[in-house]
Symmetry: C2
């Protein structure tokens, strides 16, 4: 039946984020999301396990993108440079088209403790994946975990700026700026 719903996932996502913003995350039902999207709840559950996953099911793609970029960094690149390659590559994901959605999503997550926890877990999972990819490049512990965690610190700060209301710079410009600030902070 999927041939009649070519873009069901993005329709559900747009409908969900509208409703989360309008009536709140907790008050929004899957039935309401499906109705707003002009699709059925049955179809919703073919795409998402629950309404929370509408906000988080992209994270596996992001993680794969970042881990691959880290793995493909030049063999001679030091640990933090390989991590930087992963952070910059995330710009393919956080592009201009995604920014409006990312801002709405960020506002929904910030307003809900359960969603903030879920976001923290996703970031911890991403950090562990980057550390594993660094070890596969021959970086020993504790450097691998330290470089990965530091990279996640930069990522969090850059991402929070990117979704900020008055921020006009693109994600890649911000993340490069944050990396430069990190180097300045640690050189003081």
């Amino acid at each position: 039946m999927a041939r009649w719903e070519p873009d069901a996932e993005s329709r559900f996502r747009a409908a969900a984020i509208e409703l989360f913003a309008e009536v709140g995350y907790e008050q929004t039902t899957v039935a309401a999301i499906a109705e707003r999207a002009g699709l059925t709840a049955r179809t919703f559950f073919r795409h998402f396990a629950d309404k929370r996953e509408v906000l988080f099911n992209g994270s596996e793609n992001l993680q794969r993108l970042m881990v691959d970029a880290l793995a493909q960094a030049p063999a001679a690149a030091p640990a933090l440079e390989a991590v930087a390659a992963a952070l910059v590559k995330a710009g393919d994901f956080f592009d201009r088209d995604r920014r409006h959605y990312a801002r709405q999503r960020h506002a929904v997550i910030e307003a809900n403790a359960e969603l903030r926890e879920r976001e923290l877990i996703k970031l911890a999972t991403l950090s562990a994946a980057l550390a594993r990819a660094l070890r596969q490049r021959g970086i020993a512990e504790p450097e691998a975990s330290l470089a990965a965690e530091t990279g996640i610190a930069v990522f969090r700060i850059a991402f929070a700026q990117w979704v900020g209301k008055s921020e006009r710079r693109g994600y890649v410009e911000i993340v490069n700026d944050s990396l430069a600030r990190l180097r300045a902070l640690t050189a003081d």
Copy 2:
């Protein structure tokens, strides 16, 4: 009645950590903790909201200790140096006497998803408190949050080493080593 239970909190804590290790966190009841401690469940609830808080109620003290150390760092200290003062000060908390308990606690938390989430939230709260203290020292954003998050990255790695089975160095030595490694990583 507290005069008959001068060290009730530490007795509950010791009993709880034993039971969490022996029969698992989920399977342990407050009644069993109280029995093992030779105290009553009623007394337990005068000290802790629930069994989870046995593992986490020290975090406010740790946070206060660290924030105060950051605030008291020399006025001329750069952001990361003030954060380093906070990380080193945590050594008053993570002393030799606490290490055995900290190792047991770490094993319990690692084995339970809900507890791992709780630990992530506590670290995010600590990071936000350090960033706030940096802003009060006149450090602007995004440097304040970046320095705080980077400090938490160092703290996580150092703490994980300190509770490692074969690790013999003290917490302060490890955290200073991690800070040196961070500076080396970012100087590459």
